[in-house]
Structures are given as C-alpha cells and as structure tokens.
Subunit: 305 residues, 2 copies
C-alpha cells in the first residue's frame, strides 16, 4: 500500500493534497494508496476535513525501509521522516523551491510547478479524470487553494490557482468568501495551543550568515489574540530555539484581512534583522510590515543580518 504524505506540522495543503492524490491513485489508477499525516493537522485543516466530511488520516508513526511513498507539498528532507531516503519514493508533487537532499534509486515521477498550491498541480495532472472526483475531493482542492493563497491575497497566487478556485466554487455551488472566512476563523482560534506549539505550528528553518533561524508564521484574522500573548511568546522563543538547535525564533503574525505582518522583536538580534531585511527602524518589541503575507515570496528572500 502506497503512503501519500506532506510535511511535518500539516497545514491544509499538506492534509488535503495527500487525500486528493490517494483518491486519484486508488479510485482512478487502481493503485491502492493511503493518505497519512506527519503530525496533528492544524486547526484550519481539521475544520476543512470536518467541513467536507472526510475522516482525519492516520498519523504516520513508523516508515519501514522500502515502503512505497508519494511525497507532496515539500521536497525538503528536513520536513520529512529522517529515514525518508530508505523509503521507495515513487513520486514527488510540490510547489516549493528545490532544496536538494532527497535521492531516489531510479527514475521517478517528479512534478514541481511555481503555483500557489499543491492541489492546483494535482488538478492539472489528473486532467479529464477530475470528472470522476466526488464532491469532497473537489472541496478539499478548493480549500487548499483558499488556504495557501489566503483567499488570493498572497503574492504567491497565480492566475491558474485563481481560475481553478473559481471553477471549483461554481461547480460545488459554494460561496468562496464564506468558506474562506470560516477556515481563517478556525485557524485564528489559538486558545488551545501553548506558546511553544504556536511557535512551531508553521515554521521553516533558514540560515542567514552563521545564524540559524526558525522562521515561524501565524496567519490569523484575529491578530489581537496572538499579540495579547506577546510577552510569554517572546519568553518561549529562547526555550524553543534551544530545543530545536536554532539561534533564534522569528515570529511573523500575518494579519490576513489587513494584509500586513507583525514581527516580534525580543532582542537586538531580531531588531537588527528587521532593520537589514525590511528597512524598518525597529526600537520597540514589535514592528508592523505592511503588505507582507508570504514567507516564500516576501520573507525568506530578503532575510539579512
């Protein structure tokens, strides 16, 4: 049985896309496949599963050598089980930059496209067979696009993602604005998470010079909820960084509706980084970055010290 999975700390795309591809392999290609998760899905992904009537996939606890796998929504070994190169990697479908580190024993199917969302790439690959897709699969696709594009506000959005979302919404008879609002509200309720969980929820490692950063993002329609916990979040950064082998956690609180990010500044290192990276004069314990929505397009490429 092929296991299909995305990255650690699954968001909506890394939860929905494995289900879409496992459906396609199993039901269209007659190749038994199972979607699994590399950890608990975030609260938006849980809402999406429930909204479209899908059971939450099992969490992968063990990956025996030689297990046939399809990797989606990442090509970064750091976001995958440590033994990933001992698995039998059959295919990779992704929309991130090529990182290097994954290796395969023979030629395989790899499709990477500069689109906002893995599900959009899958729609192209599935082609005419999409006619067989049940409502829940189309619904997952729509939700993945709305999530990864922040309802088309993110600069990662392409006309292809937008056109597909429009077509799916019309086909399903769904009001995209209402669905996106409900998804973002689910993601914005952070009351059940500890500070450390929030700092690790959507986080990627990135090095600037000789410093290792954990670049964490919280996308929310209710930034006040996060900012109310600012002091304890900043205290938690030290523990999380130490435990995860990083020099510093950076937390960007992305205000989806106002299209801006707030970066917390617990110390001189983060203030210097904010100044060098975004050209802002940062003296307090946080700074607002107008228009910044995308780690991939607007944060990682400019980080400097």
């Amino acid at each position: 049985m092929i296991k299909v999975f995305g990255h650690f700390s699954p968001d909506t795309d890394s939860t929905g896309s494995p289900l879409i591809w496992a459906w396609y392999l199993s039901q269209v290609r007659n190749t038994p496949a199972q979607a699994v998760l590399l950890g608990q899905p975030n609260s938006e992904a849980k809402f999406v599963l429930n909204h479209w009537g899908m059971d939450q996939p099992d969490i992968l606890t063990d990956l025996p050598a030689g297990t046939p796998v399809v990797i989606v929504d990442t090509n970064n070994p750091a976001e995958l089980p440590a033994t990933i190169n001992q698995a039998d990697i059959l295919a990779i479908i992704d929309h991130h930059k090529l990182v290097g580190g994954l290796e395969t024993k023979g030629p395989i199917d790899i499709t990477m496209r500069p689109l906002a969302c893995t599900a959009t790439i899958m729609h192209e690959l599935i082609g005419a067979d999409m006619a067989q897709a049940p409502r829940a699969i189309k619904g997952l696709m729509l939700s993945c696009i709305l999530s990864d594009t922040l309802e088309f506000r993110s600069p990662t959005t392409t006309p292809t993602d937008r056109a597909l979302a429009d077509a799916l919404a019309e086909d399903l008879g769904v009001d995209m604005g209402e669905l996106a609002s409900a998804m973002f509200a689910a993601k914005s309720d952070i009351s059940s998470f500890s500070d450390a969980e929030l700092l690790r929820m959507d986080s990627k490692n990135f090095e600037v010079g000789d410093k290792k950063f954990r670049v964490s993002v919280l996308e929310t329609t209710s930034p006040g909820q996060v900012l109310a916990r600012k002091d304890s979040l900043m205290r938690s950064m030290e523990t999380v960084a130490a435990e995860d082998g990083a020099d510093q956690v950076l937390l960007f609180i992305v205000d989806i509706l106002n299209e801006e990010a707030t970066l917390l500044l617990p110390n001189d290192l983060t203030r210097r980084l904010a100044q060098k990276s975004f050209g802002v004069d940062a003296t307090g314990d946080n700074v607002v970055l107008p228009g910044v929505m995308s780690r991939k397009k607007q944060i990682i490429p400019v980080l400097a010290l």
Copy 2:
C-alpha cells in the same frame, strides 16, 4: 537570453533535447532561448544534427552568475558546470533518478518522468503545440528516442516512447530501421578517438563501498572495432582513473545488435566486481554479459564488490 543545455559529453538526447526546447520556448512561447552544448557532441549526435539539417549549437564556455538556464536530460550537478547553483535555474526536464545537489532560489518548473528519453517528456509538455513543429524538430525527437532506447532494444523503453516514435516516423515518412542503423553506424566509427576519449565519452561516476568507479559505456554495432583496442584501452584506464579521481574505470562495450555487453577486466578488482555484480565466473581479461544493454537499469543497480 535563456540557455538550454544537457550534460557534459553530449549524446543525441543531450544535443537534440536542448534544440527542441529552445525551439518551443522561442517560437511557441515567445521567450528567447538558445540551445548550447557542454562539450563536443558524440559522433552519433553530430550525424543526427547533419541528417536533420540543424547547425551544431555553440559550446558553453562560461556561465556568469544569474544566467537564466533550463537544464535537460540530467539533474546531477557533477554533470553540469561547477557554478550551476549560481545560475538562475528556470526549469529542469529529466528522466534520470533524483540525485540531489541542485538548488533553486524560488519555486520552478521541474518535470521528471520514468521514460526512456527527455524528448518524449518534452512531447507531452508541448502537447497540441507540436502541430507547429517543423520537420527538423520532429526528426530530432525521433532520433533522440531511437538513440536512448537503442531502437527499442533497451529495457528502459516504455510503451510511451515506442508509440511516440511510431507516430513521428509515420508523420515524417521515415524508415526507422534505416535511420537507426545510420545513427548506430555513426556512433560505432571510433577510429578518430583516442583511448582516453573513448573511456570518457559516455561515463558516469558511481561509488560502490569505498571505491569510486567511472562507469563507461560504448554502444556499438561493431564491437570488434573496440575489442581490437582492448589492451591499450585497459592500459589507458589507469591514467584516466587517476586524472579523474576514480579508483577504477569500468568499460562496458554494448553490442546493440546482439543485445549483450562485454566488460573489460584489467585486474582483480574488476574481476571481483564482475563476479559479485553479475554472478559470472571471470578469469580472463573480459566477460560477456548476455542481455545487458542499460547502465541505468541493468548495471548501476547491481554493482557490488
């Protein structure tokens, strides 16, 4: 101007595929692009260029940082300029195993498929726009497939490659058998090459245990021409291995028509490798391996010491 290129020591696929893709980008997608080569094409590739009336592409001598490039027929940094990761890699189209080592600054187009030939993948990507392709472009595609599949004898051949070659041959009114024979005859005329050139002409690095091998293949319809130079080829192996930082050169002389390979055995190391890898009792200075045609499918996966 985008540079499109394949691997060092260009064979027919690494010569023809850059020309096909540069045509597609320039003429169909209105994106100026130029095919270039990473070295002199082999004698089959030169024949193919001449046969279809195409000028030999320039050889790339310099790759300034930031040059926009499309990489075809490889994803292995060892087969590309040392500064490849400083180029602006726009896309990768390949049919080899994922090696790791290439890195991109942002998300890009990557299409890798387990097909015999890069040109077959390009045909799928070009889709309906193939109707605009001139005769020479279709001819290059056909020649790339005949070359990489050894006229469908290689186990790397897939039904997709075969069906496309049939369709192109019919469209072009070409006798595939005649074309393949002429191509293989061109490749088999080795009189103008030194021993060292023959050992490096189609060669990939591969490690077995703590030993580094240069795994070289000569595909020929005239194995006698190569075997007549057996003694001096074996003497040259020491110099080539030393110059290229390898422990040993392995030379497989692939007899295309008789569908077998002869492995030269200059010393105990190669005899032990032949015994462990292919289960043959090897005492002389060469051994015949019936049915062995493909380095990718039948040599690299079984190499052992």
